[in-house]
C-alpha cells in the first residue's frame, strides 16, 4: 500500500531541503529542454543538404605571380590536365565555394527597373562542367553549352544571357509555381536580362547563416585573373588519394603560379558549422553538468535525510516494514519532490521558450520534447535516490532500540 499521503504531509513539515531540490529540478528541466531545443535547431540547420557531392569534392586555389601570363590558355590547360588524371570525374573553375563563408551575391528581379523588388541570390560562375563537377541535380531545362561560356575580366560588370537557378530561387521568384521559372527572363543589375535555362534541385550559398541559403544561381562565366579556384570531383572514395596528386600535377605543370589551399568540401562544411558544433557541445555539457548536479543534490539530500532518520527507519522496520517498503518510501518521497520540480520546471521551460522564440525567431518548443525532459528528470531522480534508498533499507530494525 502506498504512503503518498503521509509522505507528502511529512515533507510539508520539513520542506526547505525538498523545495530547494525541487527548484533545482525545475531549473534543470527548463534549461535542459530549451538547450536540447536549441541543439535540435542547430542540428537541423547543419543537416540541410548542400546539394553537392560533398564526399568526393575538393578544391584548391591557383595564384599566378608571373607577368604577361596567358590566363585563358593556362586555365584551359589546367582543367584539361586535372580531368585527365585517373580517378578525377570532372573539374571546373568556380568563383566561390559553397558553405565557405565567402562568395558573390546579386539580386534578381522579374521586372527591369531600379525601383523593382529583387530577390537575393548567391552567384556561382562555372563552365559547362559545373553541374557535373558539383554533383548537383538538374531537374528542369538544360546545362550550359561550351558556346555559352564567356570570359569575365576582373573589372567586368556585364552578365551573360543565360542562367541556371536553384529550385528555392525559382520558388522565391515564382511562389507556388517554381516550375514556371524555366524559360522566364529575369533581370540582374536592375536592367540586364537573363533567361532561366535550367533549374537545379539544391545548391547552397556560401553563407550558412543566410536565410536564403538555398537560393543560388549558376552563370556561364570563366574568370580571367591572377587568382582562381578549381573545384574537382573524384570517383567515390578516391578524394583523399587524389588531393595531393592533383596539387602536385598542377604545381609541376607550370612554375609561374602557386597552388595552395587544397581542401575537401567536407572540411569546409565542418569549418562552416564549427561554431554551431561547438555551441551544441557546450549546451550538451551544460545539460550533463546540470543533470549531474541535480542528481548529486538528490543523493545528498536523501543521504542527509536518511542519516537524520536512522532511528525512524529502524522503527518502521520494527513495526513491520520490509526492506522493499523502506526503499519504496524514499523513492516515493523523491517522486513527490521531482513532481513539484517538474511542475515548476514545465512552466519555466515554456516561459523561457517563449522568450527564446521572440528573441531569436525560433520555432516553438514541441510538447514531445518537454515530455521527454520530464520523463528524463523523473528517471534521473529515481536513479539518484536508488542508492540512498538501498542504504536506508539496509538499516537494521534493531536500530529502533539502540542508541544511534
Amino acid at each position: 500500500m502506498f504512503e503518498l499521503g503521509p509522505i507528502f504531509r511529512a515533507l510539508l513539515r520539513q520542506k526547505v531541503g525538498a523545495v530547494l531540490i525541487a527548484l533545482q529540478i525545475a531549473l534543470t528541466l527548463s534549461i535542459m529542454v530549451n538547450a536540447i531545443f536549441m541543439m535540435q535547431n542547430r542540428s537541423t540547420l547543419m543537416a540541410r543538404p548542400s546539394g553537392l557531392d560533398e564526399a568526393n569534392l575538393f578544391y584548391l586555389s591557383n595564384t599566378v605571380f608571373a607577368q604577361n601570363y596567358p590566363h585563358q590558355a593556362a586555365l584551359q590547360d589546367d582543367l584539361r590536365l586535372i580531368r585527365s588524371i585517373p580517378g578525377v570525374l570532372d573539374a571546373t573553375q568556380i568563383n566561390a565555394i559553397p558553405l565557405s563563408g565567402g562568395g558573390w551575391s546579386m539580386s534578381l528581379q522579374k521586372k527591369a527597373g531600379e525601383g523593382e523588388d529583387g530577390t537575393g541570390v548567391a552567384v556561382y560562375m562555372v563552365d559547362e562542367h559545373g553541374i557535373n563537377t558539383l554533383g548537383v541535380e538538374l531537374i528542369q531545362g538544360e546545362n550550359f553549352q561550351n558556346t555559352d561560356i564567356r570570359w569575365r575580366a576582373a573589372s567586368a560588370v556585364d552578365w551573360p544571357e543565360r542562367t541556371i537557378i536553384s529550385q528555392a530561387m525559382a520558388e522565391a521568384l515564382f511562389p507556388g509555381n517554381w516550375q514556371s521559372a524555366l524559360g522566364q527572363t529575369v533581370y540582374i543589375n536592375n536592367n540586364e536580362p537573363m533567361q532561366i535555362t535550367g533549374i537545379i534541385k539544391t545548391l547552397q550559398a556560401p553563407w550558412n547563416g543566410w536565410d536564403g541559403v538555398e537560393r543560388s544561381m549558376l552563370v556561364p562565366y570563366q574568370l580571367e585573373g591572377r587568382n582562381s579556384r578549381y573545384m574537382i570531383r573524384t570517383e567515390p572514395g578516391r578524394r583523399d588519394e587524389l588531393m595531393p596528386i592533383v596539387e602536385k600535377a598542377l604545381a609541376e605543370s607550370d612554375k609561374n603560379r602557386i597552388i595552395r589551399g587544397v581542401q575537401s568540401l567536407e572540411q569546409t562544411r565542418a569549418d562552416s558549422y564549427r561554431s554551431h558544433n561547438a555551441l551544441n557541445r557546450i549546451l550538451l555539457l551544460v545539460i550533463v553538468v546540470l543533470t549531474l548536479i541535480t542528481a548529486f543534490g538528490i543523493v545528498g539530500l536523501a543521504m542527509f535525510s536518511i542519516n537524520r532518520r536512522k532511528r525512524q527507519i529502524g522503527t518502521r522496520r520494527a513495526l513491520g516494514a520490509t526492506q522493499l517498503q523502506v526503499m519504496r518510501y524514499f523513492m516515493l518521497e523523491n517522486l513527490l519532490i521531482t513532481s513539484l520540480g517538474v511542475l515548476i520546471g514545465v512552466a519555466a521551460a515554456i516561459g523561457l521558450n517563449i522568450w527564446l522564440v521572440s528573441q531569436f525567431e525560433l520555432k516553438p518548443l514541441e510538447p514531445a520534447l518537454l515530455l521527454t525532459g520530464v520523463i528524463a528528470l523523473y528517471l534521473v531522480g529515481q536513479l539518484a535516490v536508488l542508492y540512498p534508498a538501498r542504504k536506508a533499507a539496509s538499516i537494521a530494525p534493531a536500530t529502533a532500540t539502540r542508541s544511534v
Binding site: 503521509p6 504531509r9 511529512a10 513539515r13 520494527a318 513495526l319 513491520g320 530494525p397 534493531a398
Partner: protein
C-alpha cells in the same frame, strides 16, 4: 507461544567476540506478563530484540507459534513482526513529522489494511489511550506520558499477540510511569502477552513473571505475587526454573 532453546547471541567486533546472550531456555505462554530486569549491558535489549525478531540469534532455536524464526527470510520476519508483535520503545520512537493519526497508521499500512479499516483501528486505539481528540496533533505537542500512550496505541493497532516493551516508563516521571503501567496491565488482562524490559524493580514486580539477565544468562525469579513480600528483590539471581525452586531457596 514463544519458546527459546539454548539460544545464544554473539557480537563480533574485529577480533573481539561479545557473548550478549548465553544458552537461554525460556518459554512465554499466551497471556503472560513477563518483566525483564538486569544491570546495564547485561543483554536485556538483545534479549528483547531477538524476542521481537529485530535481531537473529547466532545459536540455538527460537520458535514463535511453532515457526523457527532463525530460518525465516528478512521479509518474512518483517511480516511476522507486523502481524504478531507490537513494540513500545523507551524513547517512544514516534515519527516527529507525522501527526498522531499518521503515526498509529504506520504499521497498519504495512499490514495492508484498507483506508476504512485503518481509520477504524486508529480511532479505536487512540480512544483507548485517551487521545482521540488530539489525533491531528504532532508528537511534539504532547507530554512524554501522552507520547508513550500514542506509542502504545500504535503497538496495539495491529492487534498483536505479543507486546514487547523496552523500558516503557524509562523517560517518564513516576506518576506517568504508574499510569502507563496500569494501561499495560489492562492490556495484558485482555489477553495480550507482554514482555517488558525495565530497570524499575517496583514495576517489574507487578508482572506475572520476572526474568533477570546478567552476563547474558537468563534466570527466572518468581511467578507469584506472594514472593514479593518475601524479599525476592534482595536475592542473588538464581537459576530457578520453577516457582517451587525459587520458594525453596527463599525458605518460603
Amino acid at each position: 507461544m514463544l519458546k527459546m532453546k539454548q539460544l545464544g547471541k554473539v557480537f563480533h567486533t574485529g577480533e573481539v567476540s561479545t557473548h550478549a546472550l548465553r544458552e537461554v531456555d525460556l518459554q512465554v505462554n499466551e497471556g503472560d506478563f513477563v518483566s525483564v530486569t538486569g544491570p546495564s549491558g547485561s543483554g536485556k535489549t538483545t534479549f528483547l530484540n531477538i524476542a521481537g525478531l529485530l535481531e537473529v540469534a547466532t545459536s540455538g532455536e527460537f520458535l514463535l507459534d511453532g515457526d523457527n524464526v532463525n530460518l525465516l527470510s528478512d521479509s518474512k520476519r518483517s511480516k511476522m513482526r507486523n502481524q504478531k508483535i507490537g513494540f513500545i520503545f523507551q524513547g517512544f520512537n514516534l515519527i516527529p513529522e507525522l501527526n498522531l493519526f499518521d503515526n498509529v497508521d504506520v504499521p497498519l499500512r504495512y499490514r495492508g489494511f484498507d483506508a476504512k479499516e485503518r481509520k477504524r483501528r486508529i480511532e479505536q486505539q487512540l480512544e483507548l489511550v485517551g487521545l482521540a481528540s488530539r489525533m491531528k496533533h504532532l508528537p511534539s505537542q504532547l507530554s512524554g506520558g501522552q507520547q508513550q500512550r500514542v506509542a502504545i496505541a500504535r503497538a496495539l493497532a495491529t492487534s498483536p499477540r505479543f507486546l514487547l516493551a523496552d523500558e516503557p516508563t524509562g523517560n517518564l516521571d513516576s506518576q506517568m510511569a504508574q499510569s502507563v503501567m496500569a494501561l499495560l496491565e489492562d492490556i495484558n488482562r485482555q489477553g495480550t502477552t507482554i514482555i517488558m524490559v525495565t530497570h524499575d524493580h517496583g514495576l517489574a514486580q507487578r508482572a506475572k513473571r520476572q526474568i533477570f539477565i546478567k552476563d547474558g544468562r537468563v534466570s527466572e525469579l518468581t511467578a507469584v505475587e506472594g514472593l514479593h513480600s518475601a524479599g525476592l528483590e534482595r536475592v542473588t539471581p538464581l537459576h530457578a526454573h520453577t516457582v517451587t525452586d525459587a520458594a525453596r531457596q527463599l525458605g518460603v
